[in-house]
């Protein structure tokens, strides 16, 4: 490692921050760009499962709330792609890589949504899992990313509330409505347990080394289990893992997810991966004339 990189590393590891115009080692820039880009892709792809439900939302109020949530997520994607652009990768290149399957997005957005129950479970628990990771990113060594995360976390907190409201409405409704939530939980539990990634120790995680992330994957998952399993159980709902329990020392035990399956899902082999990417390709082609027109007009 050269002296300049060593100095940079010492700066960030002792809590120092980095701004857009600052010098940074190539490895740091590359890892950070890839990480924020995946985050941006996830926000953009994350609206597709919800978009499917705008027309099928059970009431006007739900339709409006869902549409607002979708607007928030697309807004997050725009803010995050801006961060990526300032790191040197243009938005067009990000979108090209996304639709060509060259870059990744979060595992949970590779699955289909079967019922309105899925919409509630996604907004409540997927957003809850996401906000745990996102809160840890407030402390990212790259300050522009941390600052944007403040706004994102603020908006995600509405989504959790919206999701919880949907779930509570269903579990206090008819038996069939309650069953929608239970079935959705059964479907989503595995992807949720995979959400925070394999339990790589913080000391071996290059993202922690560069202080892009400050939280080990397993810590995030434990925080999720501690915060939300009791909330699920108190509604009389069950989770499809016979091993799931809280030990006396506060650590949650669970059935180890199949990490190879997670790798397969995020590399484009999930149940809905192909369909989602095809839709994104289609919408990119459909709106291409809009960006060409507005950019030409401005020029």
């Amino acid at each position: 490692m050269d002296a300049r990189t060593a100095e940079f590393l010492e700066h960030i590891q002792s809590g120092g921050l980095v701004e857009t115009g600052d010098w940074m080692p190539d490895e740091y820039r590359a890892r950070l760009t890839k990480f924020v880009e995946m985050h941006a892709n996830s926000e953009l792809m994350g609206v597709l499962p919800e978009r499917d439900w705008i027309l099928r939302a059970p009431t006007l109020q739900r339709k409006l709330a869902l549409t607002a949530k979708i607007q928030d997520e697309v807004g997050h994607a725009q803010l995050l792609y801006r961060v990526v652009e300032d790191l040197g990768k243009p938005r067009d290149a990000c979108l090209d890589d996304l639709i060509a399957g060259r870059s990744k997005f979060h595992n949970v957005f590779h699955y289909p949504t079967r019922t309105w129950g899925d919409v509630g479970v996604i907004a409540w628990l997927v957003d809850a899992a996401a906000i745990i990771s996102q809160k840890a990113l407030l402390k990212c060594s790259y300050a522009p990313y941390g600052r944007i995360m403040r706004k994102i976390c603020w908006e995600e907190s509405f989504h959790i509330l919206h999701g919880r409201d949907v779930v509570l409405t269903l579990v206090t409704g008819s038996d069939a409505q309650r069953e929608l939530v239970q079935e959705a939980l059964d479907r989503w539990w595995e992807p949720l347990m995979m959400f925070h990634g394999n339990p790589i120790p913080a000391g071996e995680d290059p993202m922690v080394h560069w202080r892009i992330k400050s939280q080990a994957n397993e810590d995030a998952r434990q925080q999720f289990l501690e915060g939300y399993v009791p909330q699920v159980w108190e509604l009389g709902l069950t989770l499809p893992d016979a091993k799931l329990r809280r030990r006396d020392d506060g650590v949650w035990e669970y059935t180890e997810p199949d990490w190879e399956r997670l790798m397969a899902v995020v590399s484009g082999h999930g149940p809905a991966s192909a369909e989602r990417l095809a839709f994104r390709r289609l919408s990119r082609a459909e709106v291409d004339w809009v960006s060409r027109t507005v950019l030409a007009e401005a020029a």
């Binding site: 807004g75 803010l79 938005r91 020029a299």
Partner: protein, 94 residues
């Protein structure tokens, strides 16, 4: 070509403008629409400033060549002298 605009927002009346983030837009008309949506749609701002990034003149080096400590609080160490003054005046406590 899209232009990057830095967005500043005032959270409530009387507060200072603070940097909120940036947006990319083809021109000022689009920039206004994007900024309203991105930074004002929940009533979280009562005013926004949009500044093309190129118009921002940044200064990020502040060299203290002449050690101008007398302009800062750390330039004044009164503890010892206060003690001496109190002793002379005979007002030292307990």
């Amino acid at each position: 070509m899209a232009v990057v605009f830095e967005v500043f927002r005032r959270e409530r009346e009387g507060a200072a403008m603070q940097h909120a983030g940036s947006i990319s837009a083809p021109d000022e008309r689009f920039a206004e629409i994007y900024a309203r949506e991105q930074y004002g749609r929940r009533g979280e701002s009562e005013a926004l400033w949009l500044v093309p990034r190129d118009a921002v003149h940044e200064i990020d080096e502040f060299v203290d060549e002449f050690d101008l400590k007398y302009r800062r609080v750390d330039g004044y160490s009164i503890k010892e002298r206060l003690k001496e003054a109190r002793e002379r005046a005979g007002t030292v406590q307990g």
